[in-house]
Symmetry: C2
Subunit: 100 residues, 2 copies
């Protein structure tokens, strides 16, 4: 009894509050725009930018740029490995908080 629940894996990079919410916001959608995330998270541009960079450097998210009405924008999306890591981390959280 006490199976390691398949692939639960705690990930400190994802665990930080803001990054956890970024991943959670991206998980159910195809992609999200910078402004959208900033609105959800309510942080300064610089802060969001830096957290996105960390996730991107880890290969957890991909960023595409495009133009809309003459302005540049970015589409952020979870990569395959990012989704795996996020799902595994959520599984780890559920395992940890399973009792009580």
């Amino acid at each position: 009894m006490n199976k390691p629940s398949s692939n639960a894996q705690f990930d400190e990079l994802i665990h930080a509050p803001i990054r956890l919410r970024i991943c959670a916001s991206l998980a159910p959608v195809q992609w999200a725009e910078f402004a959208h995330l900033r609105g959800i998270l309510d942080v300064a541009d610089s802060v969001l930018s830096k957290h996105l960079k960390q996730l991107a450097d880890a290969g957890y998210i991909g960023i595409e740029r495009f133009t809309k009405l003459g302005r540049s924008h970015m589409r952020v999306s979870l990569t395959k490995s990012g989704r795996r890591a996020y799902v595994s981390h959520v599984a780890a959280l559920r395992e940890i908080t399973a009792g009580g």
Copy 2:
């Protein structure tokens, strides 16, 4: 659709990995000893001691000392407010990670 799930409340003090695991370890039991927690968490005494202090300062855990076989020991337990905070935080985590 989208009810604020009663009392979900993200708590940064509890969110930190080690403290989350401390709370999770305490949630299903009446109390746990220092050595037991240290074994579960696998951290240095000083580290565990400091995290316990933070939780105690916040009123989330209570500490009782007792003697066993001539040696001193402590019993750590979640206080009522500590349990509330922990449960609320877990609820917040589930809300955040509900999608995807």
